[in-house]
């Protein structure tokens, strides 16, 4: 078999288009279909020009092509409301779902922390948490891998231009989902998430602050090494992930200050928050492809 997994992207908006541009450079995933619901949408037209097969009637318009085109992985960049149905229908056909919506039906996936586990278990639906979660949870995990963290808190500051109407209408979903993943993936006993929207012009780069309270006195040398190591892991798929200051220690408090610059594919460089989502989503699918190619997992059988 070819080593590349063939993919469908659902939702031709900013995220879907940025994902498509990144995927065209991937050694492991090949974009084939772009799915939307409006035949006149810019995103679908753009995808067609980029050589994609397109459906303008949702996934219904391409489900009968899934087997023929050997589609193995789907990326859902629509909304939590339609994700469940998309996932059910595609999973039934043996397609792995990478969920970029806040639906979170499947387990949270933050690549450098738990992707390997999900891939080796062939999880058929993984959720990419939130942009703030992707940017900060690796740092919480870097601390909790050294010693117990009783409380983890993240503050994500994003430029006003980089967050769309979906996030704005349901900003609580961001704070809840991110806080949940700070616990479930980051390894903190309790998690809290704060998001700040800043309208400055020119737009500011995504900024993230991570505070952890360790149970015992923090092992400064071990935590500092772990943080630097984790930054390198994230930089493998988000080169603009940067440690600005820290880790700073104050009693049992460990603080890390990050900046995330995007690659500037479809979204501008300041939108590191969107870039880290698409990069993490793609990295996830690539890991499944690598594991399948190496024979560690066996993709669902097809007649």
């Amino acid at each position: 078999m070819s080593k590349k997994l063939k993919a469908v992207i659902i939702g031709p908006g900013n995220i879907g288009t940025d994902l498509l541009m990144k995927m065209q450079r991937s050694e492991w995933v090949e974009p084939v279909w772009m799915v939307g619901i409006d035949p006149e949408s810019e995103g679908l037209k753009r995808a067609k020009e980029m050589g994609m097969k397109i459906s303008s009637t949702g996934i219904e318009g391409m489900l009968d092509q899934v087997i023929k085109d050997d589609i193995r992985v789907a990326f859902d960049a629509t909304s939590a409301y339609v994700h469940a149905e998309n996932s059910r229908k595609l999973n039934e056909l043996g397609v792995i779902m990478v969920d970029l919506t806040p639906a979170a039906i499947g387990p949270f996936c933050v690549p450098p922390v738990n992707l390997k586990k999900h891939a080796s278990q062939l999880e058929m639906n993984v959720n990419m948490v939130t942009c703030g979660g992707q940017a900060t949870i690796p740092m919480v995990a870097a601390v909790s891998q050294v010693q117990d963290v009783e409380y983890g808190e993240i503050v994500a500051t994003v430029s006003s231009r980089s967050i769309g109407p979906g996030t704005r209408q349901n900003i609580d979903e961001f704070t809840r989902t991110t806080a949940g993943a700070v616990e479930a993936v980051g390894g903190a006993d309790r998690g809290k998430a704060i998001i700040i929207v800043n309208p400055a012009e020119p737009p500011l780069m995504m900024r993230d602050t991570v505070h952890c309270l360790t149970k015992e006195k923090p092992d400064q040398a071990a935590i500092t090494a772990s943080v630097h190591n984790m930054v390198k892991e994230v930089q493998k798929y988000v080169p603009g992930y940067k440690l600005v200051n820290g880790p700073i220690f104050d009693g049992n408090k460990v603080s890390v200050f990050m900046e995330v610059e995007g690659l500037g594919d479809f979204l501008p460089k300041y939108a590191g928050n969107l870039d880290i989502m698409t990069a993490a989503g793609l990295r996830t699918a690539e890991m499944f492809a690598e594991e399948a190619y190496n024979g560690t997992i066996t993709l669902p059988e097809r007649g």
Partner: protein
């Protein structure tokens, strides 16, 4: 200026904005003593929460001495006539906090966003309005944009269900003409039934003058704080404002001597530092920086040796908005590195 007979609803901030000045450490007993004193003086509305609103309890803004729920449950049963409000900043607090506050007996919810980001408040304003609460849209850092932009954002909040809109001078930057222009435009363009409010800070010494300008331009709710206890150089000092309104024959319903006594006997003695226009607070107003950054910048000065004033001015240049307290230590570290101090 003729305010004769004008009805002004005074809204006390000492137990919410004042929490910034107390690093969120007011005790339950202090809260109860001040709120019952204000109630007895005739203040109709009292705000009680963490300084950064419901859910503000955090390492970023400071852990409070008690939870919002504990404060609300301590204060509300002790109050006879006044109503209690709670602040909520979407992105920090959620509708779960809002429901908790309602269940504790909070009657007014104030949903606060940066002055250009009203559309993050739809679910919270919508929920509060649906629960028949007095629902306020609170546009912060209103000095940063034009009156037309404030109106556009106010209309969004009005459309979500807010029955009152605030023009909020979070940085204490505004001068009276700007207040008149912004409140005036809101008054002429919003639904006539929508109430208007003004929230001032005293960083440029303008809180009383600005509040008068707001009333004159059509605002009927004015935030203030007994003894000025609030972020930066504090809020509009309520006992002073009551005396001024008295002299102008406005209709405010507060007993001047009683509120003077709450200020002098209860609030001033518990201040950790004098609430005044010192050079750092003045810098907040002059540079247009969020008032609650004050103590964070002063702590960063003590820790990293960079003047608070320099940090605040740089935060202003970078266009920081309310809630970005984490930038203060981050920036102080960067400045200290550049100067070779660390």
């Amino acid at each position: 200026m003729d305010l004769t007979g004008k009805k002004v609803t005074l809204h006390d901030m000492s137990l919410r904005d004042g929490m910034h000045a107390k690093r969120h450490q007011l005790s339950l007993e202090q809260m109860v003593a001040i709120s019952t004193g204000l109630d007895d003086a005739g203040i109709p509305l009292i705000e009680v929460t963490h300084g950064d609103g419901l859910g503000g309890s955090s390492l970023n803004y400071g852990f409070p001495a008690h939870t919002d729920e504990e404060y609300l449950n301590a204060v509300i049963p002790k109050i006879k006539n006044a109503k209690v409000s709670a602040l909520l900043l979407p992105g920090i607090g959620t509708v779960d906090h809002l429901k908790m506050a309602r269940d504790c007996g909070v009657s007014t919810i104030r949903v606060a966003t940066h002055c250009t980001e009203a559309d993050v408040s739809e679910q919270h304003i919508g929920m509060a309005a649906k629960m028949d609460m007095d629902t306020v849209g609170f546009l912060m850092m209103a000095h940063m944009v034009s009156a037309e932009k404030i109106l556009e954002q106010a209309k969004l909040m009005e459309s979500y269900g807010a029955n009152c809109i605030y023009c909020t001078d979070s940085a204490g930057y505004m001068l009276p003409d700007e207040v008149s222009e912004k409140i005036g435009l809101l008054r002429s363009e919003l639904n006539p039934n929508t109430e208007l409010g003004f929230h001032g800070h005293h960083n440029m010494g303008m809180a009383i003058a600005n509040s008068l300008a707001a009333v004159d331009a059509g605002a009927n709710r004015i935030d203030g704080s007994v003894a000025g206890l609030g972020a930066g150089a504090g809020n509009t000092p309520l006992e002073v404002f009551v005396a001024v309104l008295d002299r102008m024959h406005a209709n405010h319903g507060v007993d001047l001597y009683k509120i003077m006594d709450v200020a002098e006997d209860l609030v001033v003695p518990l201040m950790d530092q004098p609430i005044r226009v010192d050079r750092d607070a003045l810098t907040l107003g002059y540079a247009g920086v969020y008032s609650s950054f004050l103590l964070f910048a002063q702590r960063a000065e003590a820790k990293y040796g960079i003047q608070a004033r320099d940090i605040l001015v740089e935060l202003g240049c970078r266009g920081t908005v309310g809630g970005q307290e984490d930038m203060i230590e981050d920036l102080a570290l960067t400045m200290a590195k550049e100067k070779g101090l660390i």
